[in-house]
């Protein structure tokens, strides 16, 4: 099944306690499609870059099955750039620099060949742009998932609430879920967010795992305890890419299969953080992914002994 990812394709400067990487490839749409490419090959990107983006990186995306017809390339302009420094705990980070560049007046245009896409992942962008993408579709996709952040809740809440009515799955972190709903309890937050539109809610909790909510159903996916988290950049987008990529492959939107999709997303994210940028997501083998999934099974597996 075809999958469209909308989001940034960008450069990052990253500083972690383990080292420093300059002008490395990043961006939500990059991480989403790369992670998804291990599950499905009919991938499309809507995004914008400058003419500073290396052709070999675009070739690499193409080699992973990503159609770049919807990627606008602006001559003489520069790609979106983000620079950040992670604290020792790797959970907190300071943004050192954000240069919107081509993203400043980004107007997404869906090529005709994209307008009947089956699965849509809207990466974190202005809610108005996310809405504009949905409005260009010829028919409603089988599933629309969306990522957003506190910044849009603070500055474009009305617009965000509008787009939330149009989607199926909201993928956010715990603090964002609390801010959006005004509820501290994630159970209550999920209930409030369901009422805003999304039937499914995935709450990412970083090193503490992820929760999947659908109506009264709750699933708790662990995060793999890692000895080294080298660079957390892109982990959330990689999670989203693995999640929706697995759904696009299996075409099964039951709660049972959504649970598996959360585990596959978590597994892909656990690779992402092992190296800078997209390095670890390049050239993963099917065997490595299966071994990682088996590690998740092992991690939470127990016999309950209800005869105690």
């Amino acid at each position: 099944m075809s999958l469209l990812a909308v989001g940034t394709v960008a450069f990052d400067d990253i500083e972690t306690p383990f080292g420093r990487a300059e002008m490395v490839v990043g961006g939500a749409a990059t991480y989403i499609t790369l992670a998804a490419s291990y599950f499905t090959k009919d991938l499309k990107i809507v995004s914008v870059i400058g003419d500073d983006f290396p052709e070999e990186e675009l070739d690499y995306l193409r080699s992973r099955g990503v159609n770049l017809e919807g990627l606008q390339v602006r001559k003489g302009e520069r790609s979106f750039f983000w620079s950040g420094r992670y604290h020792n705990n790797l959970n907190d980070r300071d943004t050192l620099d954000t240069q919107l560049n081509v993203l400043g007046d980004f107007d997404p245009v869906l090529p005709e060949s994209y307008r009947n896409v089956d699965y849509l992942m809207l990466g974190n962008l202005t809610p108005a742009i996310q809405k504009k993408v949905i409005q260009q579709l010829n028919r409603r996709p089988k599933l629309i998932a969306l990522d957003t952040m506190n910044f849009w809740m603070n500055t474009a809440m009305e617009s965000l609430l509008e787009v939330l009515k149009m989607i199926d799955v909201l993928v956010i972190n715990d603090e964002e879920a609390r801010q959006l709903s005004g509820e501290h309890s994630l159970v209550k937050a999920a209930d409030a967010i369901h009422h805003m539109g999304p039937k499914y809610l995935v709450i990412k909790k970083g090193e503490h795992g992820a929760l999947l909510f659908e109506g009264g159903n709750i699933f708790f996916a662990p995060a793999l305890p890692l000895a080294e988290v080298f660079d957390p950049t892109g982990a959330g987008d990689t999670f989203a890419g693995g999640f929706i990529g697995y759904l696009a492959k299996t075409e099964d939107l039951s709660f049972e299969n959504m649970k598996r999709a959360v585990i596959y997303g978590s597994a892909m994210a656990s690779f992402c953080v092992e190296k800078f940028s997209i390095e670890r997501l390049k050239g993963l083998s099917n065997k490595e992914i299966k071994e990682r999934i088996a590690a998740f099974v092992e991690l939470v597996n127990f016999d309950a002994d209800l005869e105690f």
Copy 2:
């Protein structure tokens, strides 16, 4: 199998966003033995109280199978008292008052009938007192578990490191594990702590669940997402009581059974937080506990589909 709990038996004043409770029953040994009493009946307490402690509360503990021969009652003195106020997130709290009272010069004395105990849970107390209890035993118990806190790491580290060499299971929270080991990664922290003595390490993460480490084995137990956390006081001790109570009942120290013990501890803690003080731990039915365990199974259960 017999189980001895060493720790406070005390009064608490508690303020949460949901209300206020004054001079209610608390204390680590109280929560530990009550939680354990749902699994095993040969329970003993070593602690100290003043003559202000209500006889009916002691009778209730006796009715749950708790032997109080090792509970010193000091005439004319007052029991340990703690007062705290929880923030809206219920994770953070301010201590408003701590009155050591009888605990100030507590010298634990094990009655002869306690000295061959099979399972020992050392609640959070001065490491020197924890050590003194171990030294009074006639033989080494099958399992010694210990709880401690940052305060002892700051003020009595040498003494803490001594007692850590004498125990099997350390039960602490994530921040304590990081401080004790000097490692941010919990995987590395576990490795460092294993080298200090404890073969098993349980890291409690509150609403994020718990991790069990033994050598290279890791188990991740979820916490039940709750709509209402009414009062978190005693949740950690209740966890410890359910954990060691289940082990004392089953007498199986395999990693598989330790995993189950972590789940049973988490289930007991999930009851504890539903009401003030020990209220919810009174009169639980076997059926309620089994239903709660079944909810934990449901929460993390998934089919991996390794044929993707």
